[in-house]
């Protein structure tokens, strides 16, 4: 019964929408690629019919819109045809992007938790800094990411760090906001209990406030890790970046390699979803260990 209900409630609608998207994709590919395909067929000089046109539109080398099977084939060829350390393997580029994203996330977590602790413990910081932290997020920082890369490059910092700094700037905000809530989430009763143990400020912070804030931290982490990947990709856009999913997007756009753009895009989505899944697993493991629900 439960399986049947799940089928009806969840799987069926999702499958229907996914099927619709796929059908629309193929139709769109046919419609967008048809003019090019017609030209290509006319150049061969032979007579051609509708079936030829469809086959041609779905198998262009540089289509306006590649079909899903072309993207999957390209992705598969790249993932299995080369060693993971080869620049022709998308795993290599995903690894470069993931490194920057995770380094930035780690820096963002440190900065975010430190700021949140400061805001929770120091009232002056709460009223002077918190409004600016919130205002900082209305600035389209992602848009100036390439400039940060160039400026840090002028200062002698290249490679991973500039990208990680961008990711850090994007990541710290959800973590600060979540942890301000989380560090204040300790039950007053528990705080009183800590008092009866004669626990000092540091012990209360480490043994009560931090564990009590973990659910909030993980909720923020899930948001942060997704935007961290976006930050890393945009940080790879400035010309000169050789590796990374952003560099693949840019070179694909320069040379009109649409299939390459799409497979980089799919790879980026997979990376992002995988990282969120890792965070979710860590959340389950840590919170179960801590005895929280």
């Amino acid at each position: 019964m439960r399986i049947e209900a799940a089928l009806k409630e969840r799987i069926l609608p999702v499958a229907a929408v996914a099927l619709f998207v796929l059908a629309a994709w193929y139709a769109g590919a046919l419609w967008l690629n048809a003019p090019q395909a017609q030209e290509a067929l006319a150049r061969t000089g032979k007579a051609w019919g509708t079936a030829d046109l469809i086959a041609q539109a779905f198998a262009m080398k540089r289509p306006v819109l590649p079909t899903p099977d072309q993207v999957v084939a390209d992705l598969w060829a790249s993932l299995t045809g080369y060693t993971p350390t080869s620049p022709r393997n998308l795993l290599f580029h995903a690894g470069v992007t993931a490194q920057a994203a995770l380094a930035g996330l780690a820096m963002g977590v440190v900065l975010g938790v430190a700021l949140a602790a400061g805001i929770v413990y120091v009232r002056t910081l709460e009223y002077s800094l918190l409004p600016w932290i919130i205002a900082s997020q209305t600035i389209p920082i992602l848009a100036i990411a390439p400039m940060i890369v160039v400026i840090l490059g002028n200062a002698g910092l290249t490679g991973l760090l500039p990208k990680a700094v961008i990711c850090m700037y994007l990541c710290f905000f959800p973590i600060t906001v979540g942890m301000v809530k989380g560090l204040r989430a300790a039950d007053p009763l528990w705080l009183d209990l800590m008092r009866t143990y004669s626990a000092g400020g540091l012990a209360t912070f480490l043994k009560l406030r931090i564990p009590a804030s973990l659910p909030f931290l993980f909720a923020s982490l899930k948001v942060s890790v997704a935007i961290s990947v976006v930050g890393a990709i945009v940080g790879e856009l400035p010309a000169g970046a050789q590796a990374g999913l952003g560099a693949r997007l840019l070179s694909g756009s320069y040379y009109g390699q649409t299939v390459q753009i799409w497979s980089a895009l799919v790879m980026a989505s997979l990376l992002s979803v995988a990282l969120i899944a890792v965070v979710r697993l860590a959340e389950v493991a840590v919170l179960r260990h801590g005895g929280a629900r």
């Binding site: 409630e9 969840r10 069926l12 609608p13 999702v14 499958a15 229907a16 929408v17 996914a18 998207v21 967008l32 306006v64 819109l65 413990y121 009232r123 002056t124 709460e126 009223y127 002077s128 800094l129 918190l130 409004p131 600016w132 205002a135 997020q137 209305t138 600035i139 389209p140 992602l142 848009a143 100036i144 390439p146 400039m147 160039v150 400026i151 002028n154 200062a155 400020g201 997704a226 976006v230 990709i233 945009v234 856009l237 400035p238 999913l245 997007l249 840019l250 694909g252 756009s253 009109g256 649409t258 753009i261 799409w262 980089a264 895009l265 980026a268 989505s269 992002s272 979803v273 969120i276």
Partner: protein
């Protein structure tokens, strides 16, 4: 973290003030800067001791003020005076990079500002909500300006705020053209289209629950996926002009609006819906008079998230190709030509645009949802 159980005698020793005084004394022993290669002592310039005395007077006056808050305002005057000294010295052509006395003095002034902020943020009301963050921001800007100019940091790394404002004024016509192209054309059209489409599909999905159940996982997936990556594809499809940027904005804003609208439409409570039923209100009347007003906080949440996303989408899409105008184009080309002051001016325009966009929506939200429980206790 006051301790209600501890009783202690409040002595009048103000350790913060003692630290300040010690810093000031230490500052006196060091030069304020260098002029023509020779170190310049505090006594080597007529005006410099005046600033020091002014600050000291302000501290004394602050201690004798009738209330702590009034004293804080007087101390603030002293701190402000201290921060004026480096500008005066820069005007006199003094090299500040080796003036350790000056920097110690400024450290003391910063600590003083911190004390003032601490006192002001203990007072609820307007001063805490507006004056404290305002002073903090102003302090940051002043510190930035003084450090950059004092240590002569090359403008390629970081221009001073004053230089950015000057460039803002000098390049106003160019920046206005960029603003018109990026914000008024691409962002606004894409934003209206994307939010409108998200809203319309959400209403449709609300009528057809099957569609909602299929679309929601897709919407959640879209929030996890770097949607910005479609920018090169859109530029390829729709060309270099505003259409491609608007298309990116539409795709980026569609799902947040859809998800938020759907969530908002489900906030109406059973009992409220039953009341509408007892009035014999149909679907559309219920939607218009009950469910949409109830969903307003969620709608505004989506609109606010999208305001930032839309700006980002349009500017990043411009990195992939534009006509020779637009904020993204300006940033990418001027960075390559190392004209960083124009880039910073563009960033200021983008930041102000983003804040005004967001702030305007927040004001509109307050005006239209003042009755909503989420707005209470503000």
């Amino acid at each position: 973290m006051s301790d209600p159980y501890r009783t202690s005698l409040r002595t009048s020793a103000d350790w913060g003030l003692v630290t300040l005084a010690l810093l000031a004394v230490a500052a006196l022993t060091q030069p304020v800067g260098a002029r023509d290669g020779a170190a310049l002592a505090w006594t080597g310039d007529i005006m410099a001791p005046m600033f020091l005395m002014g600050t000291a007077l302000a501290v004394v006056a602050g201690r004798t003020a009738p209330s702590k808050v009034k004293g804080a305002w007087v101390e603030l005057g002293g701190a402000a005076l201290a921060w004026l000294l480096p500008f005066y010295l820069l005007g006199e052509g003094v090299d500040l990079s080796r003036g350790w006395g000056l920097w110690l003095y400024l450290t003391a002034a910063t600590l003083m500002l911190w004390r003032v902020l601490g006192i002001l943020s203990a007072v609820p009301g307007l001063s805490r909500r507006v004056v404290v963050p305002g002073l903090f921001g102003l302090g940051l800007l002043l510190g930035w300006e003084v450090l950059v100019r004092g240590f002569a940091i090359p403008s390629i790394l970081l221009p001073a705020p004053g230089a950015i404002v000057a460039s803002l004024a000098a390049n106003a016509p160019v920046l206005w053209d960029d603003f018109r192209q990026t914000v008024l054309t691409s962002v606004l059209r894409g934003y209206l289209l994307g939010c409108g489409a998200g809203f319309a599909v959400a209403i449709l999905a609300d009528r057809v629950p099957f569609l909602a159940r299929g679309l929601l996982p897709l919407g959640n997936l879209a929030s996890a996926v770097p949607v910005i990556g479609i920018a090169p594809i859109m530029v390829m499809w729709f060309g270099f002009d505003w259409q491609s940027k608007a298309a990116v904005v539409v795709v980026m804003t569609f799902f947040p609006m859809l998800v938020n609208t759907l969530a908002g439409l489900h906030t109406a409570e059973r009992i409220q819906l039953d009341l509408m039923r007892s009035y014999a209100a149909g679907y559309w009347t219920t939607l218009w008079k009950l469910r949409l007003p109830n969903a307003l906080p969620f709608l505004f949440n989506g609109l606010k998230i999208n305001s930032t996303l839309a700006l980002i989408g349009a500017i990043v899409a411009e990195f992939f190709g534009t006509p020779i105008v637009g904020m993204g184009f300006r940033i990418s080309t001027e960075v390559a030509r190392m004209n960083l002051d124009i880039v910073w001016a563009t960033i200021v325009v983008a930041a102000v645009t983003g804040s005004v966009f967001y702030g305007g929506l927040a004001l509109l939200e307050r005006a239209t949802t003042a009755w909503h429980p989420s707005m209470r206790r503000r």
